[in-house]
Symmetry: C2
Subunit: 301 residues, 2 copies
DNA sequence: CTGTTAGCGCATTCAC
DNA sequence: GTGAATGCGCTAACAG
């Protein structure tokens, strides 16, 4: 059996409260006493029980993440950012993978269970109104990343502006025939970033007084291959675009591949702009976490 | 305040012990009583406190994973497999990212802390003897994946055999000049998979009676770009290889790119075999988790 | 400054 | 079958 706080108290010849104090480095402890306790802890190899502390504090010292485990760099990057922020504050990071609508619902119901996490981060999944009511009922802070709901905080990664900037970039380069390759606008999980980027794209074109050509709008499955197919179709048009804004790097690569297969070159023959998942993600990861921890901290006061 | 087991007991007009029994579906409860309790639980929206249960049971119902958060598909795949197995058993998955030797040590010391996790999975990181002693002292089950230590269980992904198979494949295709592109043999984190694959490669060549040509052995940073550079060098040799075994898919892609840049084609001009991270990972993920849970379960009996 | 005493929420012997 | 009592390990007032 591993030693408890009582063992330490006895060994150091003090009360358990004192041990608890040095554990949470309270200032109200005489230096010599603190030293004795510390010594006892060391000698016994004592480690406080996280669970006991948690039940006593009525906090979990953990935050949960619900997300589809994408292979995309953006996913890992965000996770990395979140982990860093969480680890720094001695919190645990509990992750849940969601790959089907069923698992999604199960997670939304179980993950925030009482005393499991102090806060929840939901990535790339938009909860329903009912889900949100449930969260509120449990009074658990929730932050959305790459998703949205009117009643929930979310980390703002302005995809609209992002899409606009990317498109403007192409316009500045002198392009007038700019195509868009992105995900389906509607999907079962409610991903929204691609849609936002599309809106940004549209806004940029309108502001520049350029035409919105429906034949330049490609939306489909998020994959290397699909983007490649779209690009081939674009190139086959009687008046092919001179530039493509791909909604993600994965898709941008598909575009480039199609271009290469045609014996064309980028950017000489046709420009391609991807959306740098990774850079965005770094930003995301960092600002993401401040929210939930701040919230959690606030609530626990 | 969320309702406790006492509230439920009172509402159902029974003792807390009975509530606890229906919670853990013990058979020793009369059906009518069980129904009353269940109703009370439902009406109150009661959820048992995980922390309280944990301190009482003196288990954590959680398992930890320490790993470098690679962007590689293999990482996500393994994580996915682990998550699935863990979730299925109502355990929580706590993840820790390690990106520097300092963080590594910190994690090895803090993650297995008493009452935080019932078991630990370490991916792609080889603990030192001291680390292992520490784990044993804490009597916490540890399983290694893509790493090894004489005293620890590990999930066997036979990279040696894998490398041998890949190389044999090329040999069967009639190739005699086969190069290897992999990671550094030694590295600060103690990654071993590439080294094992190299050994498999060597074994296959020897068995086939082929020469081991030092100029065909490329080892360096694990990156798309580095593999590309290596491939260019290989192609510049007076007698370039007719096939390349890349230690990972990332590197294989780099090879292919270099080949394409030269105006050559694969596999007509030169064959490239990668190491399918994902397939291996799927296997890994599944078999990985049985170990620690089995171990954890065993210990908790 | 430090020790004593209560909880925290649940699981678990024992008696009834 | 069911309930009262006790313990898990720790934190947090409350007294000295």
């Amino acid at each position: 059996m591993s030693p408890t706080i009582y063992d330490v108290a006895e060994r150091a010849d003090v009360g358990i409260a004192t041990v608890s104090r040095v554990l949470n480095d309270s200032p109200r402890v005489r230096e010599t006493t603190r030293a004795r306790v510390l010594a006892a802890i060391e000698e016994l190899g004592y480690r406080p029980s996280a669970s006991a502390r948690r039940t006593s504090l009525r906090k979990t010292l953990a935050i949960g993440v619900i997300a589809p485990f994408f292979t995309r760099p953006s996913f890992v990057e965000r996770l990395r950012g979140i982990e860093a922020a969480v680890a720094e504050r001695e919190f645990d990071l509990i992750v849940h993978n969601v790959e089907s609508p069923e698992k999604r619902d199960a997670c939304f119901r179980k993950a925030p269970r009482r005393q499991r996490v102090d806060g929840l981060i939901i990535m790339s999944l938009s909860p329903t109104d009912e889900d949100v009511r449930y969260f509120q009922e449990l009074s658990i802070p929730v932050v959305l990343v790459d998703a949205r709901h009117p009643a929930l905080n979310r980390v703002v990664v302005d995809d609209v502006t992002g899409g606009e900037l990317a498109t403007q970039h192409l316009i500045k380069l002198g392009h007038e025939r700019i195509a868009f390759v992105g995900d389906h606008l509607e999907n079962p999980f409610g991903f929204i970033s691609s849609r936002d980027r599309f809106n940004g794209y549209r806004t940029a074109l309108i502001k520049a007084g350029l035409d919105l050509r429906p034949d330049y709008h490609c939306q489909g499955e998020h994959s290397h291959f699909q983007a490649q197919v779209f690009t081939e179709e674009l190139l086959d048009l009687p008046e092919p675009p001179t530039a493509i804004f791909a909604s993600s790097d994965t898709q941008a690569l598909g575009c480039l591949e199609a271009i290469r297969k045609r014996g064309l070159h980028s950017p000489e023959d046709i420009s391609v702009v991807g959306y740098d998942d990774i850079e965005v993600a770094a930003y995301l990861g960092l600002s993401t976490i401040h929210q939930p921890l701040y919230e959690a901290g606030l609530r626990s006061v």
